[in-house]
């Protein structure tokens, strides 16, 4: 089935004055935040769809083939007939040759659920460009691809110790709803326990699917959160979003750094050598997370919040086989 872009009705329209700078497009519902999903973003989403036309048929590479054997057209295996089996599954050709009854097993195709877990902690609202904004747009792109593949998309915001499930959507026609749900996500004040929130999200998962965590992982228990997700049995993708000024800080002098979430502070004296040591530490931290993810068969994608969306989808996610 050829997916239809959700913004197709607007395809022939010219953007009005101010389009792309935050002005609300006339076709968008009021629940979609134009500052997050502006017209420029939507146009890039359209282009994404056109470019992904073929790959979208594959959709997100989740566990599409169920381990359960069921009714489908794709042969999987044989087994001996047992009483009660559906006679329609008997392979009469084999019976003619071997005079034994075998039942053909077919791969049962399951309905894949793509869960987008967006870290809505206070730290996500910092950095330039904003990490939460980037996460929403990346989630919109991934969710849109999933909807186009007729997969179920679940959006949940992680804040505090819980995962607030926003919506469960299916079908490409729910794309605007997806955008609206993403628009409604705001950074929560106060500290966030990422591990607890992820555990809560894992408890809400219905069956196996694809779980995509979009977070800056600036939490002491980030590694345990990844382990929690890996333990759900789903295909887990971690989109590690950091702002460029978090990787290469432009700080200098005698400073008191105040944590946006906890309010705690650290006094530092920053010079060139200290900044270089910090960057080395960030790199080691990301490498450690990548090693952990590799051990847990989790796809770890480190990105910077100034990465263009097309580069994210075509370069990063495809290179790491997150997108088929």
């Amino acid at each position: 089935m050829e997916p239809r872009p959700p913004t197709a009705p607007a395809a022939g329209r010219q953007p009005g004055p101010g389009a792309g700078d935050g002005a609300r497009a006339v076709f968008l519902p009021s629940t979609v935040d134009p500052t997050v999903f502006d017209e420029a973003f939507l146009r890039s989403l359209e282009r994404l769809l056109v470019l992904l036309k073929k790959p979208v048929r594959g959709g997100l590479k989740g566990t599409r083939r169920s381990t359960k054997r069921g009714l489908s057209v794709e042969f999987a295996d044989y087994r001996d007939y047992s009483l009660g089996d559906d006679l329609r599954t008997l392979d009469w050709n084999v019976y003619a040759r071997l005079e034994r009854l075998f039942v053909k097993l077919f791969i049962e195709e399951e309905d894949v659920t793509v869960t987008l877990l967006i870290d809505a902690s206070a730290s996500m609202s910092h950095g330039a460009p904003g990490k939460l904004l980037f996460a929403k747009r990346a989630a919109a792109a991934l969710g849109y691809i999933a909807l186009a593949s007729e997969d179920r998309v679940v959006v949940a915001a992680l804040a505090g110790r819980v995962a607030r499930r926003r919506a469960s959507l299916r079908g490409s026609g729910r794309a605007l709803r997806l955008l609206a749900e993403l628009s409604a996500i705001e950074a929560a004040p106060g500290p966030t326990d990422l591990q607890a929130a992820v555990r809560h999200a894992g408890a809400q998962l219905a069956g196996r699917g694809v779980v995509i965590l979009l977070s800056d992982l600036l939490d002491p228990a980030a590694d345990r959160a990844i382990r929690e997700l890996a333990g759900t049995g789903s295909e887990v993708v971690v989109l590690h979003v950091l702002a460029p000024d978090e990787i290469r800080p432009d700080l200098e002098g005698d400073l008191r750094l105040v944590d946006a979430e906890t309010g705690g502070s650290v006094e530092v004296t920053l010079d060139l050598a200290a900044r270089e040591r910090y960057m080395e530490r960030v790199e080691a931290w990301r490498t450690g997370l990548a090693d952990l993810a590799a051990r847990r068969r989790v796809s770890y994608v480190p990105v910077e919040s100034d990465l263009p969306l097309a580069d994210l989808v075509f370069a990063e996610l495809r290179r790491r086989r997150v997108v088929g």
Partner: protein, 692 residues
């Protein structure tokens, strides 16, 4: 290690102060970040509500502590001791004569001598006292027995070589007086030793010479004179140039008149010889002649000389006589002279004698002599010019001194005098023509600042007017008497005193030196006819202007008893009248030149001759006075290396403080070299390895 100021080590209290500053907490700027997770181990220990923090290891702190230590050490002035090689009472004599300006040692002998003297001070024992004597034309003590080496260095640094001949013997006598006051004393003489030491000179202390000077390459102008030609239209310049080197030399001589180049000649000078140069046809309007040697020898002050051309104004001579045709004729032949005549009976205040340059009383003498140069011929009575004791009949003419300037070119061997006045030689005069019995026939001298001469016989009562010597003698007499009333036309030796005539209506003189500075002088007594000028250390032309004149000189009123006689053949019977206008405020000049072969001969002398005048002092009772065995040690303060260390620490502290900027500059330069000059960009953070 001993210290000069050990109390300065109290500056070490700044060490805990610096440490305390480092323990104080800084006032930091708050900056909200997304998380402090990754900054945890960068932060310092933090204790709430505590104003200090744990001391951290820091290279800056270490450098600052070292700097405080070094500065305290420096303020305490550590020193090392060593045996002193100089006496406790040191007298330094610095030769400041003209030859010390020679440049055969860089930058000059005087500077090298001063440096040697300063360097010698390092061997002065602790607490030693130093005197400094500047040996110039007049030696003087510029530092007197002081233990303040700063003052000594300042005094030595202030000594300059003057273009004069120094009297080193006089300086050594002064040094001897200073040294003899102490037991342990020594005299150091910084000189080129190009001086003569008089025999018998003894210094009551050991003398050691700090020699300077190596070579003798010098040519000098040793004489310069300007003479008028017989026509009085042009002048001739006579220059004498000496090559004092042992090598031949070629020099270019430039003669300038009032700054204009009149002539230039190249001279080849044999070793140690003199060459004479005369240049005629110097224009009449030239007032100052300057001669320069354009070569490059090692002493500059004798390469220039100046001569002032005598003023060419008319001399006014008043002859008070009943009539002597011989004398009138001889006077009328004098160039640039106007002869006026008056009968003795008509002479009086109305004649205005002060307006004449010379008055000749022939056979008569007024009761009151005028204040102008005077020649008295056969004075009839006793006066201040001499006592008349009788009459000499047919006196014999004695042999005159050969170097008598008045008798230059005058032959008196055939002179016969019929009758002469018997005069007693006054104490202010010298005999020019001796007569019988010690009674002079002609004498001359200076009295009250005025030149006077007395001729004991009337020319017509001798055969002198019939001889060639007569007009020459008259010319010499007039030149002697009139020339003394003006500023010196010959050269003046630097540093010597000059007697300058003061016009009767002036209160003093304003002398402008060659460097433009002005000195005002007044006569020693009120109304004196001359003032003494002493500031002649500088070579060049000095200009003298009378001051205090009562406005422009009024034209002399017509005198009923005086009639001008412009014709050379004027007779005393002619009615004298007002002489021509004279401007007493007109400036006069004189020149100061070295013209000293002794100073121009810059070949270094033998220091042993000077050291030989030193003697070890007799025992003065002080222990170790003579051999110096009990001298305090000399001190070498170590401030130079300590200052260098402090500077190095300061630089290191700055480099550490600004290390970020240095790293940026280094990276920028590296990027310029590597990329051909693009702007530097931060190195991209490598991405983690791809995991699937």
């Amino acid at each position: 290690m001993p210290f000069v100021a050990p109390l300065a080590l109290l500056g070490l209290v700044f060490v805990p102060l610096v440490v305390a500053f480092w323990m104080l907490r800084l006032r930091r700027t708050d900056r909200v970040v997304s998380s402090t997770l990754l900054w945890k181990r960068f932060g310092e220990d933090r204790e709430a509500n505590v104003p200090w923090q744990r001391l951290r290891r820091s290279l800056l702190l270490l450098l600052q502590l070292l700097l405080v230590l070094v500065l305290a050490f420096l303020a305490a002035r550590p020193f090392l001791e060593r045996p002193a090689s100089l006496a406790r009472e040191l007298v330094i004599v610095v030769d400041a004569s003209a030859s010390m300006a020679a440049t055969d040692v860089a930058p000059s002998r005087i500077e090298a001598a001063k440096a040697a003297a300063l360097d010698a001070l390092r061997d002065l024992p602790s607490g030693g006292r130093v005197s400094v004597v500047e040996a110039a034309a007049v030696s003087r003590v510029v530092a007197n027995r002081t233990a303040d080496l700063g003052r000594v260095r300042e005094a030595i640094a202030g000594i300059r070589a003057a273009p004069v001949a120094s009297d080193l013997a006089d300086a050594l006598r002064i040094a001897s007086g200073l040294a003899s006051a102490a037991g342990d004393s020594e005299v150091l003489v910084a000189t080129d030793a190009a001086v003569d030491i008089p025999a018998g000179l003894a210094v009551k202390a050991p003398v050691r010479v700090l020699p300077t000077g190596r070579e003798r390459h010098n040519q000098a102008i040793v004489a310069l004179a300007v003479r008028s030609s017989s026509t009085s239209v042009t002048r001739s310049v006579f220059v004498s140039i000496a090559n004092l080197d042992i090598e031949p030399a070629t020099e270019r001589v430039e003669i300038r008149g009032d700054g204009r180049l009149l002539e230039a000649r190249d001279l080849f000078l044999d070793p140690v010889t003199r060459a004479e140069v005369s240049i005629d046809d110097v224009p009449r309007d030239v007032a100052v002649v300057e001669v320069r040697l354009a070569g490059s020898d090692q002493l500059a002050c004798d390469d220039r000389a100046w001569a002032v051309v005598p003023p060419d104004r008319l001399l006014r001579i008043l002859l008070v006589s009943a009539g002597d045709p011989y004398l009138e004729t001889a006077l009328s032949y004098l160039p640039n002279a106007e002869l006026y005549g008056v009968a003795p009976a008509d002479y009086g205040p109305g004649t205005k004698p002060e307006l004449f340059d010379l008055i000749i009383f022939d056979g008569n003498l007024p009761a009151e002599l005028p204040r102008v140069p005077t020649l008295a011929i056969a004075p009839p009575r006793t006066s201040v010019l001499g006592s008349v004791t009788g009459t000499l009949t047919d006196p014999a003419v004695g042999r005159a001194a050969a170097d008598e300037p008045l008798l230059r070119y005058v032959d008196l061997t055939t002179l016969h005098v019929a009758q002469a006045v018997q005069l007693t030689l006054p104490d202010w005069a010298r005999t020019v023509i001796p007569g019988p019995g010690g009674y002079p026939l002609l004498y001359s001298g200076e009295r009250d600042g005025l030149r006077m001469a007395v001729l004991a016989f009337e020319p017509r009562r001798s055969d002198l007017p019939l001889q060639v010597a007569f007009p020459i003698l008259v010319s010499n007499l007039v030149g002697e008497l009139v020339g003394a009333s003006q500023a010196p036309s010959g050269s003046v030796t630097p540093g010597s005193l000059v007697s300058l005539p003061v016009p009767s209506t002036a209160t003093g003189l304003r002398v402008t030196r060659p460097d433009g500075s002005v000195v005002e002088i007044t006569p020693a007594v009120t109304g004196g006819a001359a003032a003494t000028f002493a500031a002649t250390e500088e070579l060049g032309v000095y200009t003298v202007v009378p001051v205090g004149l009562p406005g422009p000189t009024p034209a002399p009123s017509a005198s009923p008893g005086a009639t001008p006689s412009a014709s050379p053949g004027a007779t005393p019977s002619a009615s004298p009248t007002t002489p021509p206008l004279v401007d007493p405020s007109a400036p006069s000049r004189f020149a100061v030149n070295l013209f000293d072969m002794g100073e121009s001969a810059i070949a270094p002398g033998d220091p042993a001759k000077i050291e030989a005048v030193g003697t070890a002092p007799a025992g003065s009772g002080e222990p170790g006075a003579a051999d110096g065995t009990h001298r305090p040690p000399a001190r070498d303060e170590l401030w130079v290396p300590i200052v260098l260390v402090a500077l190095a620490l300061l630089v290191a502290e700055w480099l550490v403080f600004e290390r970020d900027g240095l790293v940026r500059i280094r990276r920028w330069l590296a990027s310029r070299r590597g990329q051909g000059g693009g702007p530097s960009r931060p190195a991209p953070v490598p991405r983690p390895p791809e995991r699937t």
